[in-house]
Symmetry: C2
Subunit: 243 residues, 2 copies
């Protein structure tokens, strides 16, 4: 089974100024992992129409799925829907079913022009349900456009899962080794990886004033092979005198 | 004074799997902001040589400065130095001054082949001091290559600040409005932005079960203009009945 891949676009000036700490990437990655969809690249983009449009086009061709977060609210800097439409040469307009969703929340008196912007959806897109604040996300071809606010974005994922064709599951194990530096383990680690094709091993040092250590994270579709790697890593840890 | 721009590359599979939550982007952005250097785009890349090399080349041309984090440790998946060299067609080899730094930490007995990899630096680069764990970062043309571990990355920034030509300072104010939805404020916000050229205003909703509100963040090089925007935003908040 070939890889199923994803690219993620996190949109918003506030992510690039350091004002807001993104957490959506990790949420989406952890959602996709168990479905066998691997995130290959993420980009954090400013509220700039040309960049967003071009990047959506590139990512849509390069990856099986694209997820965008941010820029679908009611204000003037919310331009993601227009950029998606432009990326695919689609029209865009207010949609009655999306307006109905907004009416549920706002009623006709609060549904002003700004909020009606949230019902502007690229032609032919299918809506993504938003149980938190109603304003929908939408799917355009292989691109899923979601809210930027983490609790809303998260609430949209259940209406996406059934639309994805998953890949082979990638399993993961972690072996931790305290009291040893990453450089002590590097040679043994390279041997283990060479001896176990199909398993990728990452090595992540941690330390504070009192302690240093390394976590080894191995990933593979082959669970039996992964268990052999676990044994080999545990033997390496013992040989190094860590624990 | 024209804009001084930066692009940031965060390198490592662990950031894309959701295993590790990046914090380096916000740290670097907050470091650059007061220097008048604006982060225009960030990309989170897998440990893939072709992608890293090509992206370094693109970013180096597109932005005044590029900052990379991750992939300069002692293990086989630490490939950033080689990618930087490849991006600029430079040779790469062990450097005596970098080895000296490593010897300070490890002594000759612990300085094995894996750790010596951390002294492999692209030809002509200048080293960036690492007071935490000695293995240096390095500057190649307009690209600054730093560690991925946040406490090490942060410790490298002081040896970078004097190398940057800053831009005009961008000032920022925040006006917060509780009890009001983003959509209620959107029209007034657009008017304020239109009436105050040179000021960018972002609108960031927040809410929980009990409360909703919006923060308006305005940024400009022109402090006097920014103060006028502050007054206009405060008047808008009062008109909307928020506080």
């Amino acid at each position: 089974m070939s890889d199923v891949t994803a690219g993620i676009l996190l949109i918003g000036d506030e992510l690039l100024s350091g004002r807001t700490q993104d957490t959506n990437l990790a949420t989406i990655a952890k959602f996709l992992g168990p479905l066998g969809v691997q995130v290959r690249e993420a980009r954090i983009l400013a509220d700039d129409a040309a960049t967003i449009t071009e990047t959506v086009r590139v990512f849509s061709e390069r990856f099986d799925y694209v997820f965008t977060t941010g820029g679908i609210g009611p204000t003037h800097d919310d331009i993601t829907a227009d950029c998606i439409a432009a990326a695919f040469g689609l029209g865009i307009g207010e949609r009655e079913d999306a307006l109905d969703m907004l009416r549920e929340r706002y009623g006709d008196d609060e549904l002003n022009a700004a909020r009606r912007r949230m019902a502007r959806i690229p032609d032919g897109a299918s809506l993504i349900d938003n149980p938190v604040s109603q304003a929908p996300g939408f799917q355009t071809r292989n691109v899923f456009t979601m809210a930027g606010v983490p609790q809303i974005m998260r609430a949209m994922l259940p209406d996406i899962v059934h639309r994805l064709k998953g890949g082979a599951l990638v399993h993961q194990i972690t072996v931790t080794c305290a009291g040893v530096g990453e450089g002590d383990a590097a040679a043994g680690l390279a041997e283990i990886e060479a001896a176990h094709p199909g398993v990728g091993i990452g090595s992540y040092p941690f330390f504070n004033d009192a302690l240093r250590g390394v976590s080894f994270v191995a990933r593979s579709r082959d669970e039996a092979q992964l268990e052999r790697v676990r044994s080999a890593l545990e033997a390496l840890v013992e040989r190094l005198g860590g624990g």
